[in-house]
Amino acid sequence: MRNKKRERTRRLLSAASLSLAMLCVLFGSSWDRNLASGSVQQTAQPIQPPSVSSADKRTIVAFENRVKAYMKLRNASKAKLPKLSKDSTPEQIESYRKSFEEKLRAARAGVHSGDVFRAGVAAYIRKTLRTEFQGKDRAELRDIVFEAETQGVPLRVNYPYPEKNELSEMPATLLIKLPQLPKEVRYRFVGRNMLLVDRDNNLIIDYMVDALP
């Protein structure tokens, strides 16, 4: 009787240790797999926006409010135009772009450089750019920004960005770190200067000189 009990205990123990061993193998291999994919994904961390101080936050909010005020004005001008369909002819596109540009220029008559890029936000953007453009890995950023041929683009508020000129690519890593804009408004570099441009009518909303270090 005692022998039977001992035998049952021995069997239970060996079954338990076998299960434990199997679990170890399973967990071990899946851990290996995770590690393998993890080693690929180490380079796969999404870029995070920078943490900002409360003073910078206030500056950014004020900037966003000025952009919102611009949006209100441009949407009021847009509302006066016939709607542009998603399958427009070239003539309709050209006419819409030019009418939009004229209406908005008239609505914004009298605006000056620095109305949107006020000193506070300009300083914040310059600081962000300075940080981004430092370091040996950032030569690539410069290549992208200075690659575009932008000679002849006027630094004039309320004037159109010339359609014949190339548009500089905005480096993706940088866009994540700059204050966010509505989809109709774009940052754009012209040499070392930074512009705010309207996507749909190509008007220069504002600019800041020597934005890049």
């Binding site: 080693s39 690929v40 994904q41 380079t43 796969a44 070239p90 359609e163 993706a172 866009l175």
Partner: protein
């Protein structure tokens, strides 16, 4: 120890992927066949399978030059043997101005025969394109700078690489997260990998997009910007192509010693033909004059 083992596994899988791709490409190249019809002496390296998805790829086209027209003419000739239904455009659709006349002389007049035969064009924006092009009737962008559409078992993602902001990145992640297609193909203008001297790899864009492509298993990435053809060695399981010489050429621009290059062609302009048939995605690259300069097949990893 486990970390070392994992590293070895990852490296081995990359080598395997690279070797696999070369082998497949060679297999198809050797198996190239001449289309049976005597009236169409065009060399096809594509299977023309029943029910397959067939399309062409052109990039950096909008010059309005004679050579752009010659590429278009060769596309028309090849379409008689390989009836593709749609064309992906890699951006720089209109160089040097966007008047109503520019749309005609640099696009609709050039591809008239294809448009007349109901071939659809799906565009993406390059650094020479105004965003308002998204409303052009023949670009099928539906008013959007970045969009997705499906054909058969393939999901196509057209991205705006000029302005890869947070909203676009979020949209891409959301779309990919719910995508159950067999094949996922992204196309946009700036190449994350390129061996061309003029522009080369866009590492900033790569830093943002590659983690997403890896996570959601993008199969193929098609780009332009550099005015050459280049097939990049598979990078982390993803097949990258540069096809930026549909209307402009930078002759001799691919760096010969580049470790990225699997195959390149920079002596003339070109276009690409693609065919998705079951678990295989076939491609063929054809020069302006009709010469086949590369071909191959990518096997869907889901079927392995």
């Amino acid at each position: 120890m486990n970390r070392i083992l994992a590293l070895v596994l990852v490296v081995a899988s990359f080598i395997f992927a690279s070797l696999g791709n070369s082998t497949y490409a060679q297999t198809v190249a050797k198996g190239s066949k001449v289309a049976a019809s005597t009236s169409s002496p065009l060399k096809l390296a594509l299977p023309l399978a029943d029910g397959s998805v067939r399309f062409a790829v052109i990039g950096d086209t909008g010059s309005g030059s004679d050579k752009q027209r010659q590429v278009a003419d060769t596309m028309v000739r090849y379409r008689s043997a390989f009836p593709f239904d749609f064309v992906l455009m890699m951006g720089d659709n209109l160089y040097g101005g966007e008047s109503a006349k520019d749309f005609q002389t640099k696009f609709s007049n050039v591809y008239k025969q294809l448009l007349d035969n109901n071939v659809k064009f799906y565009a993406t924006l390059g650094n020479h394109d105004l965003p308002i092009q998204v409303n052009y009737q023949y670009f099928n962008m539906n008013g959007k700078e970045y969009y997705r559409f499906n054909k058969g078992n393939i999901a196509f993602y057209s991205l705006n690489s000029n302005y890869m902001d947070k909203k676009q990145v979020q949209w891409l992640q959301n779309e990919l997260a719910k995508d159950t297609s067999d094949w996922k193909i992204a196309f946009f203008h700036h190449p994350p990998y390129s061996s061309a001297a003029a522009h080369g790899s866009d590492k900033q864009l790569r830093e943002v997009l590659e983690p997403i492509f890896i996570k959601y298993r993008m199969n193929v990435v098609l780009t332009g910007h550099d005015h050459v053809y280049e097939r990049i060695k598979p990078q982390k399981g993803i097949y990258y192509f540069v096809s930026g010489a549909g209307g402009k050429l930078r002759s001799g621009d691919v760096k010969e010693s580049s470790p990225l290059t699997e195959k390149s062609f920079d002596r003339d302009m070109h276009f690409m033909l693609w065919e998705a048939a079951g678990k295989n995605l076939y491609f063929q690259v054809i020069s302006r004059t009709g010469e086949t300069v590369d071909s191959g097949v990518i096997v869907n990893p889901k079927s392995k």
